[in-house]
Symmetry: C2
Subunit: 466 residues, 2 copies
């Protein structure tokens, strides 16, 4: 838990050495280097995006990406449905639409939110966005000036950290445990921020099946968080892409269902239908909604019409609740494969969360091992994960990693966990061999420089914190 | 031509009076009013978006919107094509994609740009965006800090002004004439900016069939602009949605074709195929492209996959060049209807541009009439246009209006121009009656308050400049 300003350091990667000479992967001297905005110098490739080329190699079992299992959709039915939308309603689906989004879709979005106890939402309070990523970007642009403070779980969704960094906001992490965000820690953070004179703009939280934490905010804590928000006049951004993907229970009641004025809710169809359509939304009080519409018009004019009509028609004509059930059964099976393999294979001292929904397990390495330094060896062993530092704005998280079970089949998952366990065991062996050597040197020994150089994360600190 | 900082004035509209009491259209006291970012206070509804509800009334002939004639597309063929994409390639079209955009589409985009003489573009320099609006937003975010100066034609595309305002950049307009941007005026502006110590980040220009000006940058001026950019080390953003929509000639050679390092090119499929898919792109030198990808990942993660596949497949399998020819024939006919009606009906002293491509005519009212004040009377007469002030960042342009001929049928256009001519004539009559009264008072006389209040533009000055 720490507060650091966004990095204004080196935006460029060092070109890798190979065959004794420098490979110029992009112009080394950027003639425009002195023209960029301040925010641009802080932008870095995320840990996840940096892995993209690695994880798409067929021999690698990727426990890295968060890609939903879209092939479990009835593709023929969805294809016919979208084809008919274009043939029959081309004048609407291929034309510009409203910046706020299609009114019919906004109505259906209210129906979806009702499943989580949000029964007072009006379509006029909904803004359709290009995925909930754009929703978070809009909210952040509307509220945050450079230097403003955002409270966020530690760890937090890597894409959110990217948004906050681009806004030149400072992130202060608030710790979680197995019951999600810790209310006492939130209150402590607020007290300290007040003492520092920090302008806290909002709390960003993923209460359900946290990415990357895999944990869920408990019922009593939900009320505690809302009470703290009320007491400290704190705005809460509730990011909820996974809320309907619980394995063993009905959806939990959203924070927004408890406080309509202080909670701005972000939703998405990426995990319940399709991420390739990029349809998400923001539910916000009318005054904020008005700002969000102006902001989105300046950013994209309007969201794509075709994809909005596709989602609305899907909700109108397809058995979407049953489809979500089908998705969760599939993900539950993969979660089980993950946890069973971890239980069976991981060396002592390794710990992990036990998600009851969503896509992710958050794993802690034993003995202070560093997941970032271990990554090249894992890739050599044909298994990929996302190093924990990607999920912290302050360089911490090196002993953690995120494992995703949403995309690979159970057998692949078991094989991936097996490979990962072997890599960790080898690291532990090495560690015990070099036990006398200081940690810094140990790291340098096991580090194949050329691979490590190609993967650069947002972290710019070598501190390891909990 | 003037330089003004973005307005930080009243972001709220005054609720209209009706039936003797105030209608609270949104909460009058926004409890979050003191939380917003500085940029948010400058955001205003654009002149075009404010007209949305008016122009969708069936009795109104709208010469306001810039909606392409998408029903001229082969909707059945496009529908089948997209339906098959989903049925056959759902694992790709419904899944997340790369932040930079689909590689196959980026290749085809290079083919499209070759039609305008850009033959050295590599797909690796292309970033696919959610319409070229997002492209402009990304470029502006990557380059502009608050207070930076952007040079732009006067008038300029209203959506670009919205982006610049959201970035808290200052816009300095550079005048145009029938041959487009005036190079000498650009040079003069650069000299003055240097003298003022302004940080000029780029020139934003629409060289072909300008929106809203309707004019095209002449061949000799293209070279002159590129030479000035070189001499003054000026970055140029070439926004070119209409370049392939010329009525009488082959596409002109792009500025980017003359200078690959200093020109960032924005393209769009909104006018050549469909705006409802929101597929545009940026072509930029590799170092800039790298920043743009990071910025778009923070904003939307990746553009929608389905719409990208739809455009790539359309370019691969449909006769898109013939379709563009069909579009231009249709627009030419509408342009002819517009110009013929204007020639026949407009009162003396009214002047307008004569576009040879694109969507727009830029009309100047006689005798200092004010298009913004006249607007409610035009709407009463069932014709809509966009007042000129929407296209200036500095409150000028009141004697101008933009007429779009892209969407209505020729007969509707003729009827619309007839109605507009009558409204202008009535204004002139009024004007001559009140000739002794000063202009300010004259304006107040003719202004039905309730309608005017509902239409609020970005302009915050009453100055009238040329």
């Amino acid at each position: 838990m720490a507060s650091t300003p966004p990095s204004h350091g080196q935006p460029h990667r060092t070109p890798p050495q190979q065959h004794g000479h420098v490979i110029p992967r992009h112009p080394r001297l950027d003639p425009l280097a002195d023209r960029y905005a301040a925010r641009t110098h802080g932008m870095k490739t995320s840990e996840i995006r940096a892995l993209f080329s690695v994880v798409s190699r067929p021999e690698v079992v990727s426990l890295a990406g968060g890609m939903p299992a879209v092939t479990a959709l009835p593709l023929d039915a969805v294809g016919s449905m979208i084809g008919e939308l274009v043939s029959g309603m081309g004048a609407q689906t291929l034309q510009y639409g409203s910046g706020q989004g299609d009114p019919r879709l906004r109505e259906r979005i209210c129906d979806v939110m009702a499943l989580e106890g949000i029964t007072d939402a009006s379509p006029s309070e909904v803004v359709v966005t290009v995925g909930s990523q754009q929703g978070l970007d809009l909210v952040t642009r509307v509220f945050c000036d450079p230097g403003d403070v955002i409270l966020a779980e530690g760890p937090s969704y890597v894409g959110a950290l990217g948004v906050f960094q681009a806004a030149e906001a400072r992130v202060r992490h608030v710790p979680m445990d197995d019951d999600g965000l810790i209310p006492e820690a939130l209150e402590q953070a607020l007290i300290e921020c007040r003492a520092n004179g920090d302008r806290v703009k909002f709390l960003y939280t993923v209460p359900n099946y946290h990415n990357p934490g895999g944990v869920t905010l408990s019922e009593p804590r939900r009320q505690a968080i809302v009470d703290i928000a009320d007491r400290y006049d704190l705005l809460v951004i509730e990011d909820n892409p996974y809320g309907l993907l619980g394995f063993d229970r009905e959806p939990m009641r959203a924070l927004r269902a408890r406080d309509a004025q202080r909670v701005i809710y972000l939703g998405s169809f990426s995990k319940t239908f399709s991420p390739g359509l990029r349809v998400g939304w923001v539910l916000a009080p009318l005054a904020v909604r008005e700002k969000l519409v102006l902001a989105t018009e300046a950013q994209v004019l309007c969201p794509p019409s075709l994809t909005q009509y596709a989602v609305a028609r899907y909700l109108d004509t397809q058995p979407w609740r049953e489809q979500i059930k089908l998705f969760t059964e599939l993900y539950r099976e993969r979660r089980d494969a993950t946890l069973e393999s971890l239980d069976a294979l991981m060396p002592p001292g390794t710990t992990w969360t036990r998600p009851d929904g969503g896509f992710y397990v958050w794993l802690k390495l034993p003995n202070g091992l560093d997941s970032k330094l271990m990554q090249p060896r894992a890739v050599n062993a044909h298994v990929a994960y996302v190093p924990g530092i990607g999920f912290y704005a302050d360089g911490s998280g090196r002993e953690y990693m995120r494992l995703s079970y949403c995309y690979p089949e159970p057998d692949q998952i078991r094989e991936g966990v097996r490979r990962l366990a072997r890599v960790i065991e080898a690291e532990l062996d090495l560690h015990s061999t070099f036990d006398a050597v200081d940690t810094g040197t140990f790291r340098a020994v096991g580090r194949p420089t050329h691979t490590a150089e190609t993967i650069v994360g947002p972290a710019n600190s070598d501190r390891i914190e909990d």
